[in-house]
C-alpha cells in the first residue's frame, strides 16, 4: 500500500512499482528486459485511462484533496515570475492560509490571491490546512482594492476545505469578512479570473471566487458544503459522503453542464499530480487567452456583465 496513492489508484501504484523494480534489475544485469518494461508501461497507461474514465464524484473529491496535488505555490513557481508576496490585513494579522502578492504573468503585472494548503504536517499547521480566518479574507480584500487602484487584473486560485470554523474566527467576524468580499468583488473595476485548483469548499471558496470567469481544473470540486458535512446533516452519518458527493453535483463536468462554471481545464492522465509541468502549462494558456479577452472589454461593460452573470444564477418556477 503506497500512502501517496488513493485506494482506487493502488493498482496503478503496484504496476509502477513493478516497472521501477525491473528497471533496477536491467541496469544491473546483462539481460535485456526493455521489451517487458515497455509492455508494462503501455499496460499501466491503459489501466490508468480505464480507471480515470469512470470516476465517481466521491473519487474526484478525493483527487481534489490528493496529498500530492499541486498547490498554489507550485503554480506560482511554474507560471509566474517576480512574485512578491504581500502580507497582512493591516488590522490584525497575516494569515498564511491565504496568500497574495504581485507577480508578472507573461511579462504583465497581475495580483495573485489564493489559499495555500501544506504538504507535510508542519506546513499544514502553518497554513492551517488552507482554511483562512477573517484576516485572510481581509488581506485578500486589501489586495483586490489595491489591484483596482493600479489597474492590475486579479487572478484568484481556490483550494480550501472552507473558511476556518473556530472561536477566534467567529470573534473577528468570519461572516462579515466573507460577505464583504462578495460585495466588493461584484463591483471591482478590474478583470477577475478565478480558478479552482483543488477543493472549492463553500463560502470559504466563494470569498475569493466572485469574478468574470470561473475555471475549474478537471478533477477539482466546488460545493456548498463538504460531502462529509452534507452527509452528516442530511443522512445523519458522515459515512454517506460518497452519496452526498454524487447528489451535490460538485464535479467540473456536472457544473459546466449546469452552466455554473465557464471553463474546464483538462488534467493530464492520472490527475494534475502526475505531471505538474503539463497542468501548469495548460492552466497558463487558459489564463492568457481569457485575460486577453477580458482586457479588451471596457471596464464598465465588464463589471455590468459580471453583475448579470451572478443575477442569472438560480432555477425556479414562475406563475
Amino acid at each position: 500500500m503506497n500512502i501517496n496513492f488513493l485506494d482506487f489508484e493502488q493498482p496503478i501504484a503496484e504496476l509502477e512499482a513493478k516497472i521501477s523494480e525491473l528497471r533496477c534489475v536491467s541496469n544491473d544485469s546483462e539481460i535485456n528486459i526493455s521489451d517487458e518494461i515497455s509492455r508494462l508501461q503501455v499496460k499501466c497507461q491503459e489501466l490508468t485511462s480505464h480507471i480515470f474514465s469512470s470516476l465517481t464524484a466521491w473519487q474526484v473529491s478525493q483527487l481534489a484533496r490528493h496529498p500530492q496535488r499541486p498547490y498554489l505555490l507550485d503554480y506560482i513557481d511554474l507560471i509566474f515570475t517576480n512574485f512578491e508576496e504581500l502580507h497582512g490585513d493591516r488590522t490584525f494579522a497575516d494569515d498564511p492560509a491565504m496568500l497574495g502578492g504581485l507577480a508578472r504573468f507573461e511579462g504583465q503585472p497581475v495580483m495573485i490571491i489564493g489559499q495555500q494548503k501544506g504538504r507535510d504536517t508542519k506546513e499544514k499547521l502553518q497554513h492551517n490546512f488552507g482554511m483562512p480566518r477573517p484576516e485572510g479574507y481581509r488581506k485578500a480584500l486589501r489586495l483586490m482594492e489595491m489591484a483596482e487602484r493600479f489597474k492590475l487584473p486579479v487572478l484568484t486560485f481556490i483550494d480550501t476545505p472552507g473558511a476556518y470554523p473556530g472561536v477566534d474566527a467567529e470573534e473577528r467576524g468570519q461572516s462579515e469578512a466573507i460577505a464583504r468580499n462578495l460585495y466588493v468583488m461584484s463591483n471591482l473595476k478590474t478583470p477577475i479570473i478565478s480558478t479552482i485548483i483543488g477543493e472549492g469548499g463553500s463560502g470559504g471558496a466563494l470569498g475569493i471566487g466572485v469574478g468574470d470567469k470561473l475555471c475549474m481544473l478537471q478533477y477539482s470540486t466546488y460545493s456548498v458544503i463538504s460531502p462529509e458535512g452534507c452527509a452528516s446533516i442530511l443522512w445523519k452519518s458522515a459515512d454517506k459522503a460518497p452519496e452526498a458527493a454524487a447528489a451535490m453535483n460538485m464535479t467540473s463536468g456536472r457544473l459546466k453542464e449546469l452552466a455554473l462554471i465557464d471553463i474546464i481545464i483538462p488534467e493530464p492522465l492520472g490527475g494534475a499530480h502526475r505531471d505538474i509541468k503539463t497542468i501548469a502549462q495548460t492552466l497558463s494558456t487558459v489564463l492568457q487567452e481569457n485575460l486577453a479577452m477580458l482586457k479588451q472589454t471596457p471596464i464598465d461593460e465588464l463589471v455590468e456583465s459580471r453583475y448579470q452573470r451572478f443575477m442569472q444564477f438560480g432555477q425556479f418556477e414562475t406563475g
Partner: protein, 301 residues
C-alpha cells in the same frame, strides 16, 4: 406514596400521576423556554412573541413579523409568483421535492423569504423576512431571486431596504445554486448602495452560515434581537474542530455587540419606531411621529 395519599380511598389515589388529564385546547397556553412561566398565547402574541416576564424573544413567523412591523396601508407583496423547483433531482433520506411540499403545507408559504413593499410609520420601504419554519429558513434560488427583486423595487422607487434574517444558511438540496445566491444577494446590495439607499439588516435567532456570510452582515446598520444565535459556523461544528466547550454566550447578540460586529441590540417591541427613526435620518426625512403601539412600556433588564 406520601402519608397523605395513603389516607385517600384507592379510587381517588393518583399514584403520583394524574390519570384524568385536563383537556386544554392546543395552542392556548405556551411556556417561556427561559423563565418557564406559562403564558396565555393571545397575550404572548400581543407582545410579538416576547415573554412579558423575562423579555426572552421567542421565534416569530415571517408573515406575523411583517404584519406587526409594517403599517396596515399600502402593502404590496413582491415575488409571490416564484416557487422552488428541483434542478438536481436531489435526494437524501427524502426527496427534495417532498421536502418542499411538506414545508409548503406546514407554513402555507411557497419558500423561505417573504418580501413586501410597504410603509413604517409613513416611511415607504421594502421589507423582507425569512421564514425559519420553511426548511430552516435556508437560502435557495427562490430566496435569492426574491431578495434581488425586493432590492430592485427599492432601487426603482428610491426607498430603503430592510431584511429580518432567520436562517440556518444555504439550502444544501440546491447545492451550488444555493452558494451562488450568496454572491447574487451581495451584488444587489452593492447596487443599492450605489444608488445611495440604506440597507438595515436585522439578525434574529438564528442567523448562520451562508446567509450570515452574505446579505445578513452587509447592513449599513446591523441590528440584532436580544440573545439571538448569530455566526458563520454552527456551535457544534466549532466544538468538533477546536475540541473544547464553548464559552457561555458565545455567538449570541451580546457577544457580537462586544466584538464590534453589530451596531445595536433592539427589543422586538421597539423595532418599528427605532428603524423608522434610523431610516428617516439616513434619508433626510423628518422624524416620524411615534405611533401608539398599544403596548405596555418595555423594561429592559
Amino acid at each position: 406514596m406520601s402519608w397523605f395519599e395513603k389516607l385517600l380511598p384507592t379510587r381517588i389515589r393518583t399514584n403520583g400521576k394524574t390519570n384524568r388529564r385536563v383537556v386544554v385546547p392546543e395552542g392556548v397556553w405556551s411556556k417561556c423556554p427561559v423563565c418557564q412561566v406559562v403564558l396565555y398565547s393571545p397575550e404572548l402574541e400581543r407582545h410579538l412573541n416576547v415573554c412579558p416576564k423575562c423579555n426572552h424573544h421567542l421565534r416569530i413567523g415571517a408573515r406575523k413579523r411583517l404584519e406587526s412591523f409594517l403599517d396596515p396601508e399600502q402593502r404590496e407583496e413582491i415575488g409571490i409568483e416564484l416557487s422552488p423547483c428541483d434542478p438536481l433531482k436531489f435526494r437524501d433520506s427524502k426527496k427534495y421535492k417532498d421536502r418542499i411540499t411538506q414545508a409548503q403545507k406546514a407554513t402555507d408559504e411557497k419558500d423561505a423569504l417573504i418580501v413586501i413593499k410597504g410603509q413604517v410609520l409613513g416611511l415607504p420601504l421594502v421589507a423582507q423576512a425569512f421564514e425559519f419554519k420553511f426548511m430552516g429558513g435556508s437560502m435557495g434560488s427562490v430566496v435569492g431571486e426574491r431578495f434581488v427583486r425586493g432590492a430592485d423595487v427599492a432601487i426603482e422607487h428610491h426607498i430603503p431596504l430592510i431584511c429580518f434574517c432567520a436562517s440556518g444558511g444555504a439550502r444544501m438540496q440546491e447545492a451550488l445554486f444555493s452558494l451562488m445566491q450568496m454572491a447574487k444577494t451581495s451584488a444587489v446590495l452593492n447596487r443599492l448602495n450605489q444608488h445611495g439607499l440604506p440597507f438595515i439588516s436585522v439578525l434574529t435567532d438564528p442567523t448562520m452560515g451562508g446567509v450570515s456570510a452574505s446579505l445578513a452582515m452587509l447592513g449599513d446598520i446591523n441590528i440584532a434581537e436580544p440573545n439571538a444565535l448569530i455566526g458563520f459556523a454552527g456551535p457544534r461544528v466549532i466544538e468538533q474542530t477546536v475540541r473544547e466547550t464553548l464559552p457561555e454566550g458565545f455567538q449570541r447578540s451580546e457577544f457580537l455587540l462586544d466584538h464590534g460586529t453589530i451596531d445595536m441590540i433592539v427589543d422586538r417591541r421597539q423595532m418599528r419606531e427605532r428603524i423608522a427613526s434610523l431610516f428617516s435620518m439616513l434619508t433626510h426625512k423628518p422624524q416620524p411621529l411615534q405611533a401608539n403601539e398599544n403596548l405596555e412600556p418595555v423594561s429592559i433588564n
